[in-house]
Amino acid sequence: MPALGTFILLAAFVVASYAIAACVAGARRRSTRLVESGVSAFYAVTALMTVASGVLVHAFVTDNYAIKYVQRYSDTAQPLAYKIASYWGGLDGSIMFWVFLLSAFGAVAVQVNRVRHRELIPYVVAVIAAVEVFFIFLMVIHKNPFSTFLTPAPADGAGLNPLLQNFYMAIHPPSLYIGFVAMTIPFAFGIAALITGHLDDAWLRAVRRWTMTGWLFLSFGLTLGMLWAYEELGWGGYWGWDPVENAGLLPWFTATAFLHSVMVQERRGMLRVWNVTLVIVTFFLTIFGTFMTRSGVVQSVHAFGEDRELALLFTIFMVVILVFSFGLVIYRLPLLKSRNELDSWASREAAFLANNWILLFSAFFVLFATMFPTLSEAVKGERLTVGPPFFNKWMLPIGLILLTLTGVGPLLAWRRSTLGNIVQQFFWPVVAGVVTAVALYSFGVRVWSSGICFALCAFAAGTIIQEFVRGADVRRSTTGTDLFTGMVGLFGRSRRRYAGYIVHLGIITMFLGFAGEGFKKEEQLPMKVGQQTTVGPFTVRHDALRVTADAQKQMVTGHVSVFEDGKLLTTMEPAKWYFAKREDEPTTEVAIRRAPAEDLYIVLSGFTVDDQSAVYAITVNPLVNWIWLGFGLMAIGSLISLLPESMFAVAMSKVPAGAATTALLLSLLLPAALQAQHVENPQTIFKAPRTQLEKELQSEIICMCGTCGRKRIGECTCGLAAQMRAEVGQMVSQGKSREQVYEFYMAKYGSQEPLASPIDKGFNRLAWLVPYIIGGTGALIVGLMALRWTRREGADATGPAAPVDDDPARRQRLDDELRDLD
């Protein structure tokens, strides 16, 4: 099996190299057949990488410890899901996973654009294949994931790092990789456009869509990284300016800049050199990020360790990229002349330009600060480091300026805004911001950065709401529908613009969450049984310390009761887990009580078993959940803007007038009606359950009053719980089964929320499959294409010496000449 894997990698190397040669030669000689052959070779790389991934995953699943990589990152006791995730858990596999994703994405991009951008395709293929060749080369000569033990294979593996045995960690790297990989595609299109000189704005369309896709995945990956840090590392925060996270943030900045400045080029024909540069820089930063995390240049939580040879290879590759790309830009400068000049600073293009500068500055600042220890060591011979306070000092004002521009940009007109329309556009949003600021001040908020952030959030949100209301109003008066349907209709009319606003709304929501950081409260203290302490609004009491064990690990769990205003709110169980093979590296199992206003976050940081005392780190994190919510909004906005135009048009035309309003009102009313308030009712008489099933159901269904902290209906004292108990009793006496009761509540509340534990844990982890589904789809497409070619003509890989006779024009001419002779 390992031999097969190595062989496939070698084959992929050869085939990808052939794809480059055939495509470049084909494009230069204008031989369609040669190009087609190159493209098929390109698809073949995808197929080969899919098979190679299959071989490696198979090795993990079947515990083939003869392969070094499998031995190092897996063991027999590991759950199947983590065995599969181990594929990208280490350096060698992560490079292979990278190539696999790139080949899959590349195949899709080429397939989608092969007709519309026919003249660019050969060079697009060549560029993507060249990147693949580099990474396959790395694997073949240096980091082969299929290399085997020369000595007899060990009986068991070392196991994946327990820190990585976590749901978020399993999907966080793939989504970041997808984001990185997707950025290769706009780069390929950009380079192809530069080489061919087809620098009209047509290529921008393809580039914009793919940048958007990559951007979405990058954002997803970064958010998951924050969630992982928050839930798994247990230091109470989500972003610590760790070099690896920074590496993901760098291309995010430049991609965001590009997504804005590309609009200026589309509308006004300006900033053309700038846009090409941004595409190149974004791609470069993805490669640089990979280099930074994989070569040990910087120290980090999840860097892979030091590797000089790898660093050298990467450096060469990066120099080649820069020289080649910017060489091409300089060569094509005459074609990249701007068609217009900036008319006024009070214009939207000026706002975009400012936004671009700030984003670019952010990228270079983060790059500089991340590399600072390495740089200082190289320059001064002394290792100087900068910590998170330094990052925060700079990024905080930068973030606030960006937030302001988020509000200002869309309000300015293209070309030039007159004083009149500035006043008209800014009046209400500024009022919203000022009112918020005054209100906060009078309520005694004195954390300046957060206060300003809240006010700016109100301003920016105000601009967006104003845009929606005005747009919908215009639409209502022209089409005669009501306000809400008009609002939805806006998406049909100018989808990109309004989808962009949704993304902005998501960003604003995230900023709300970031601002909450300013009100964070922390306490670390040792506690004896029965002792209590107060942090923020919560009083925390240490009840007990228990030690338990299962097959994989030993668990030390602290039992804690939390009170608010003297009432028991909930009980929490922070723990430490000692995995059998790594007793000296326990994992921290944080206990989090989530709420929209603030999270209570408890870590068990130490304990003494003898007297059952424990050391707790207790943190109150205000508004953290708004960050995750904000990402949700961002994702929705991006998806709306990525939907194919035709699909959207069809959907819009099918929606009858007024439907949107009805749906919206219903969805607003339903939860309101169902969310009956929790009213403490001490006189509640608990009727004894009549059957065993009823008794069990009382502890399996949760009271949905929304304020009792998810108590079981058998325990909650409010009126709604009594009503739910009665419902359950009635259903049981009607002879309904447990599943039917479950279904009743799931239908009533629209989710599994009323159930104490989710029905099928497996389903919730479906996200695991995403990379595989993408890969599988890619493979399927390749298979289908292969089938089509074989049906059309015997062989495709006719090689460089494609017979000239097959050119239809030439044959036609030959025919004509022969006819003349007759």
Binding site: G90, L91, A158, N161, L163, A229, L233, W235, G237, W239, G240, W241, D242, E245, Q299, S300, V301, H302, A303, F304, G305, F361, F372, P373, S376, E382, R383, L384, T385, V386, G387, P388, P389, F390, K393, W394, Q524, L525, P526, K528, K576, D584, E585, P586, V603, S605, G606, V615, A617
Partner: protein, 137 residues
């Protein structure tokens, strides 16, 4: 045209100058020297009061904790030179006699004063991942 170019140049110069100046001053406050125990303790004089990240190994059986508190006293050493350290707060799991640590803080008259959350233990992991105890801080 000439005034326009002048304006652009002036703007760029002012902006770059302001940013550079700010960066320089904030860098001076924000940086920490990464040093090994023996480098500092060979001649501790000039290091007093400077922000340091001190690398060394915890001396066996030197860790003392005041009962019912999170006040720690311990010693770290490297290549024969030893320094006393004091710290209040939560320590990482891998913090014990003999373990490799990096301490953030300053050198004071009574030894090394570790900043809050300033103990980072390096784990002798078989892993490639270099996981400090409190990552990201």
């Amino acid at each position: 045209m000439k005034t326009k170019a002048l304006k652009i140049v002036a703007t760029v110069v002012i902006l770059l100058g302001a940013l550079g100046g700010l960066m320089y001053t904030s860098l001076a406050e924000g940086t920490e020297y990464y040093k090994h125990v023996e480098e500092v303790m060979a001649d501790p004089g000039p290091w007093h009061g400077k922000n340091l990240q001190l690398h060394g190994f915890v001396v066996d059986k030197s860790i003392l904790r005041k009962p019912d508190s999170l006040d720690y006293r311990f010693q770290i050493q490297n290549k024969g030179l030893v320094v006393h350290a004091s710290y209040t707060g939560v320590v990482p799991d891998t913090f014990k006699g003999g373990s490799e640590v990096v301490l953030k803080g300053r050198l004071g008259p009574h030894g090394f004063e570790v900043a809050p959350n300033g103990v980072m233990a390096k784990c002798p992991s078989k892993y490639e991942a270099k996981t400090p105890g409190i990552p990201g801080t």
